[in-house]
């Protein structure tokens, strides 16, 4: 699964970047992800703290998977000490043709998104039985 947005190196992981369009007002960061293979396909796990279910937008268009998370956080009181600032999340991946995009499922729990990307039936290995004649 190739990365569409520029990968964030670990050293620069703490820095947000500007979206590459001039009119986009908001800043965003690429969430850290884990991607691993299972017998049925791929699983993508992303950390998206502060994103409620209705703030999450996942799209597949022309083989590109887009994950967009809009942060909604209420912080009471006046700040005295700050270590982080939450901004919206955005990251894109190029999907392989073997992913069955109709059966992608997503689950969001405690700020962690789990996307299941199943392999298309045609891409699954098939055992061919050889008959002795």
């Amino acid at each position: 699964m190739a990365e569409k947005t520029v990968a964030t190196p670990v050293e620069a992981a703490g820095q947000a970047s500007e979206k590459e369009t001039t009119r986009a007002e908001e800043r965003y960061i690429a969430p850290p992800v884990d991607i691993y293979e299972t017998p049925d396909g791929l699983t993508l796990v992303a950390d998206l703290p502060g994103v409620p279910v209705d703030g999450l937008n996942i799209q597949v268009k022309e083989g590109i998977l887009t994950i967009e998370g809009n942060v909604k956080v209420e912080s009471p009181g006046t700040p005295v000490y700050r270590e982080y600032e939450l901004v919206n999340f955005f990251r894109q991946f190029q999907l392989a043709d073997t992913v069955d995009t109709d059966r992608i499922t997503a689950q969001l729990r405690n700020g962690v998104l789990e996307l299941t990307l199943p392999k298309a039936e045609a891409a699954k290995p098939k055992t061919i039985k050889v008959e002795l004649g």
């Binding site: 970047s17 850290p32 950390d47 998206l48 005295v80």
Partner: protein, 151 residues
């Protein structure tokens, strides 16, 4: 008790600079620090923001994917300790990973609060990966209105 927040002066200076440079409030001039990878570096985890009003002190910690059963909060005087476990992905062979950017593991962090708090009335809420702790100020640390009598 003479706690002075050494960062508040910097915070004020930052706001002044933002205003001078015409940056609207709420949008900081510095890139936000959002790294929340435990175990990746020798940095404190979880990252916390502290805010206050006259009644309470609020601590918000950035900690997605915590195991809520193993999350522990302790308050002693004006120190708050957060400890817990961020679950990793289990049962996957290392060679099956295409990307592994999220770190996991055990963590513990103690932070000093701006004033003494009433440990019995501390409440905490964990929602969408953010832990929000509300710590009511101890009666002795609360500002009191003093009535002036004219004589």
């Amino acid at each position: 008790m003479s706690w002075r927040n050494p960062w508040s002066e910097l915070e004020v200076l930052r706001r002044e600079l933002d205003r001078a440079l015409g940056i609207e409030p709420g949008r900081s001039s510095t890139p936000p620090r959002v790294a929340f990878l435990p175990g990746r570096a020798a940095r404190a985890y979880p990252l916390t923001n502290v805010s206050e009003d006259t009644e309470n002190i609020y601590v918000q910690a950035l900690a997605p994917g915590l195991d809520t059963d193993k999350l522990e909060l302790t308050v002693l005087g004006n120190a708050l300790t957060i400890s817990g476990v961020k679950k990793g992905i289990e049962g996957v062979r290392p060679e099956a990973f295409h990307r592994s950017e999220r770190a996991a593991g055990r963590f513990v962090r103690s932070i000093e609060l701006p004033s003494e708090v009433d440990a019995d009335r501390v409440t905490a809420r964990y929602a969408s990966g953010l832990l929000t702790i509300t710590l009511p100020r101890a009666a002795a640390a609360r500002p009191r209105q003093v009535q002036v009598t004219l004589g």
